[in-house]
Symmetry: C2
Subunit: 337 residues, 2 copies
């Protein structure tokens, strides 16, 4: 162990789609834990779409990262030194520790991960924030019933892929929308979606959806917004539920995009569109993780990961995830397991 | 009683804002009731924003009126001849009898109105479809709590004025948005809204709302859509509820209007937008009418009416209502009480 802590800081606020020059590799000393804190060495770092929002100056549901500050993000790591009552050296933990190799955190900011349950990387994916987002966003916000049609955008991402599989467990017809033929093939052949289409090679989304969801759309889990969402809204059924999870198509726009006004659809279809943030379900995380773990163990939920090597490659991994190059969860390996 | 039945038929499908030439005064014989039906002479006809939708060829939640057909609409009238078991000559009834002086209807299409409870015209207003729309759209869809801020657009119309007063009964701060200084004065001074503004003379709706709703917006009851709704969305509080009742600003547009994409607000604020149609509450109408009648009797809900004279003036009354010339419920008198 060197005593240098390599970190990625925000070098500049991006204008439009971010680039590697908006990030900077910096080093600091490895911090020391105070009483009630642990020193954690990161093993995996998660890069997620919401981080684009944190790179802006304007406040959102998470505070902006300041220029010069370490980028925020979820990490799974091992406890190197514990001054916490309930954690000991060698324990595997998960927490929002940032884009860096080492971090100090109080016990309440760390969740203990059981390496016997599943690979520890899943604590950032299907058994972590993305899995919980899929679980509560689908089941609590939209509550799909057997036989209903569920459409998922961003369907091959960490959240979308899990949403589709939970909807299948619920007995729904599941249609995915994704950004490559390989993603479409994978979610249908490997994850059990009933149908999917590649929006990058499809001219008329609504026409294609009509074909793949001939009974209309009862539940729409929206990760992307924009023109895809416009098309799905035009096909909502009576009493449809739209779970608004993300709007990744909009995150790199500097001004609000204009689109067709959608509220009329909600009246005609007596439908609801509801946004949610996973943080609001904190007191139900255990329930979600218990169920997701069981499904993963039973093979009912599968997951894929794409892993970049080294903190120095975190910006590239983030940018590739924003471009949709990942299938499943995009991670960055910070140190060997 | 002549034996001519004067009617207003749809003469042409309007292009944009309708005009009187889109309607035609026609006459037919007064129809005769079959077994199980009543002949009803209309006393008041209701003209409502939703009728604009029925003038289009494309289907909505109600079937289009065909060119040459009598316009649809709610009527309060008296039974002239009864071949129904539970109705007798002289009874006052309400039903969807259309823009005409006489109509025949089966008993199940008629609701008996008690003239001792309230003026019979209220069966088309505060104790009819608009009142029930306000009641269920506010309480069931948005469920405002004491101390919350409720914003109502179309606030001086039959629905909006009732929404604001129910929200006051619930203990909310109520801000109305209406289209004239007289309407603003009336809903604040006579109906007890806490504040209101005239959108026709206000430059920046969001700025004005920030001033009048300094704690943000917990509930938005939307009758109008468009730029007013854009402004309200930008001020929604965490866990806000938007009850989407109407989009009158859009009804005369031949193409879908473009506007800023709004779904991101729902995520950041964990808010929901839910459309509804009053017909879906049919099995709870009695509950709503009982409560509304009580509030009207107690003076807690007041109402205003604007009455045009004669079936021949129904098109003009409808057009003036669409232009916002009415305060409260716009009616057409078909015959003396």
């Amino acid at each position: 162990m060197s005593n240098q802590n390599r970190q990625i800081t925000l070098a500049a606020r991006p204008d439009g789609f971010p680039s590697e020059s908006d990030f900077k590799l910096a080093t600091s000393d490895i911090p020391k834990p105070n009483e009630g804190e642990c020193l954690v060495q990161g093993i995996y770092l998660s890069v997620d779409p919401y981080m684009r929002g944190r790179m802006r100056a304007r406040p959102s549901y998470v505070a902006p990262v300041q220029v010069g500050e370490v980028m925020g993000g979820g990490v799974v790591g091992r406890v190197l030194e514990s001054r916490c009552e309930d954690l000991k050296q060698g324990d595997i933990v998960e927490g929002v520790l940032g884009w860096q190799e080492y971090a100090v955190a109080p016990q309440k900011a760390l969740r203990k991960v059981d390496p016997a349950l599943a690979p520890i990387s899943t604590a950032l994916g299907v058994l972590g924030m993305p899995g919980l987002t899929a679980y509560f966003g689908l089941l609590d916000v939209a509550d799909p019933r057997p036989g209903e049609t569920v459409v998922v955008s961003g369907a091959a991402g960490a959240v979308g892929a899990t949403v589709g599989q939970i909807a299948k467990i619920r007995g729904c017809r599941v249609v995915g929308i994704a950004g490559s033929d390989e993603k479409v093939r994978q979610i249908v052949d490997e994850l059990g979606f009933d149908a999917a289409f590649n929006y990058k090679t499809t001219k008329d989304y609504a026409d294609e959806l009509k074909r793949l969801a001939p009974d209309g759309v009862d539940v729409y889990f929206d990760n992307v917004g924009g023109a895809i969402t416009d098309a799905v809204f035009s096909l909502l059924n009576v009493r449809a539920r739209v779970s608004v999870c993300g709007q990744i198509s909009q995150y790199n726009l500097e001004a609000t995009e204009m689109g067709p006004r959608l509220l009329w659809h909600l009246i005609v279809k007596r439908a609801k569109a509801q946004g949610f943030l996973i943080f609001d379900y904190a007191n139900r995380y255990n329930e979600g993780l218990r169920q997701l773990s069981e499904w993963v163990k039973q093979g009912k939920i599968r997951y894929r990961e794409r892993i970049a090597e080294g903190i120095e490659n975190a910006p590239k991994a983030f940018l590739e995830m924003m471009q949709g190059k990942n299938i499943g969860k995009q991670l960055v390996r910070l140190s060997p397991e």
